[in-house]
Symmetry: C2
Subunit: 340 residues, 2 copies
């Protein structure tokens, strides 16, 4: 490996001089500058990233921390990553994807502080230990989702307004005359599931409708694909419960499962029942048949906002604790219709 000392020797100057030539933080004569640049060029010298980070206390890397069980990434996470990338790209930051086996985390090699300037945390759970750890070590973080309890007031976060989003979609279905609305919700321990359930009830109360019990089902804890859960649950619930005329799905994969189930049962969407889903992107819903009506969550914007917030925190020092709530847009496409 070519070091700064090699360059210095080749150019007949000291290490500090070479450093100054590159950083331009102190004046170096034109003649010496030329000599150094030539030597560096010839030796194919590249400054060592880690040595520099060590002294600068800055890596220009931000981490994306997700719970390890979540693999592979779903549409929402991919869109979010895209958004993060776009902002990081503009600001000269790189992204470190941080998923490690819990077993490996115990190894000495890896308990080290993460090599990042800050982190974006996904899928917070109740009293998430990751958040407490970062707070204690003063590592800047932005949480995507709703941090629970007293942590909420201490960290920046970006999230959909899930309560409003769920309420808005249920409101649509209620005004269309649906009274038994099946809700295939996400896993129970996630704060997002709580929020959406709340929205579901809220819309019912507003409309003066008593929600039918047993129609909210949580996806079992992150095992199995969403598409299968949507498929199997729909088959089962439509058989067992009469009168279900609409289904609200947690994501577009579930909706695909629902579509498959409809086809198998010989049912027509939206003639026989309506479907509406929270969707991570607007890439695929329009291509479905019929085009899927949904709440556009805009994971991409969330990723962008989270990255902006984090970079702001990292560069400008500690800004205040901000919480950004993004509205979701209801996009009617063709999978919802009035009853009778």
């Amino acid at each position: 490996m070519v070091t700064i000392a090699d360059v210095a020797k080749a150019a007949g100057v000291s290490k500090g001089t070479v450093s100054s030539v590159f950083s331009k933080k102190r004046p170096i004569s034109k003649e010496v500058t030329q000599r150094v640049l030539k030597a560096a060029e010839e030796l194919n010298y590249r400054p060592n990233y880690w040595a520099r980070s060590l002294v600068n206390r800055k890596t220009n890397i931000i981490g994306l921390n997700m719970r390890s069980e979540k693999m592979p990434l779903d549409a929402f996470q991919h869109e979010l990553l895209d958004g993060m990338m776009e902002v990081c790209y503009e600001h000269g930051y790189r992204i470190l994807i941080n998923i490690l086996q819990p077993s490996l985390l115990k190894q000495v090699e890896l308990i080290a502080s993460d090599p990042v300037d800050g982190e974006i945390l996904l899928d917070p759970i109740h009293d998430d230990p990751r958040i407490e750890d970062r707070l204690k070590r003063h590592v800047p973080i932005v949480v995507v989702g709703r941090p629970s309890g007293e942590l909420a007031g201490q960290v920046c976060s970006v999230d959909n307004d899930n309560i409003a989003a769920a309420a808005k979609s249920v409101r649509l279905l209620l005004t269309q005359g649906h009274r038994r609305i099946l809700f295939l919700n996400s896993a129970k321990d996630r704060t997002v599931a709580e929020d959406r359930e709340l929205g579901y009830y809220l819309a019912h109360r507003e409309a003066g409708v008593d929600p039918v019990a047993g129609l909210i089902l949580n996806k079992p804890d992150d095992d199995g694909t969403s598409i299968r859960f949507g498929y199997e649950t729909t088959l089962q619930m439509l058989r067992e419960h009469a009168g279900i005329s609409a289904i609200l799905a947690d994501n577009e994969s579930m909706a695909m499962g629902i579509y498959q189930a409809a086809e198998e049962l010989g049912l027509h969407i939206p003639g026989d029942f309506s479907v509406i889903a929270f969707s991570g992107g607007e890439h695929f819903p329009p291509a479905m048949h019929p085009p899927l009506t949904g709440m556009r969550l805009d994971a991409r914007t969330i990723g962008m906002e989270a990255a902006r917030l984090l970079i702001e925190q990292v560069t400008a020092g500690a800004a205040g604790v901000k919480r950004i709530l993004l509205p979701s847009e209801l996009v009617e496409r063709g999978s919802c219709a009035c009853t009778h």
Copy 2:
């Protein structure tokens, strides 16, 4: 920041002793070990990742290097990333996503060597300067795709057998009676485009059919989305050229554009013309209408193989130059049919 010196002072020992307690590379008495661990615990000490990397010359990070214009990531890249993540997860490696603005790359801050043990390079072009650079600096790399020219013999690579894949899909169309097959190929400078074009011609020759000139179009250099390119090109070509009865698309997004164009023109797939596409995942093609017939490229496996190959290189030192070619599977779903 709590350093190793702080811990040493608190425990009343030297820095080296603390280091040994953590690394267990030299024997430390039980009593001292306890004292050190207690002090570290109380101070909430975490070893500094950069300092450690500096001396160990090892980061346990591998880089994913993609050409900056490619944003956001397409389905293929997302799947590939998933595969990489899975393997890295098992082996205790992190992934650094490396996309930087060309303008920023010139800044002194960023010309530094990348902070990784090795890199996976995407979308190689002719005499890719990235490859030459890594070779010169002896940074282990694995190329996803086909490195061009003399570089091919010097680096590991993982790729679809694109020639075979293209040939196989064109062969299907030819046996179905199609004679004017429009091929919406990817950008011209990419080696993958060459390979697939070769496959296109190969299948024609095998079948004794003279390919019609002007039916292979390359996507303009990575600007604009694939979906739009598919849409606009289809509209234009179907108007201008009579007799086109089948379209081969570079990816599923293009296929969606083609579907949209068909709808706008009031044409029926596969009744009026057939569509077949290279597809990164098997997530969405089945949900399209009609379900999209395609060559399943299995980006996930490519990602896994690339990561394995790279980690092998990084840990075991220089292994031989390997090239892994993965077969693609033709999945017939419903967007292709015989002519007349």
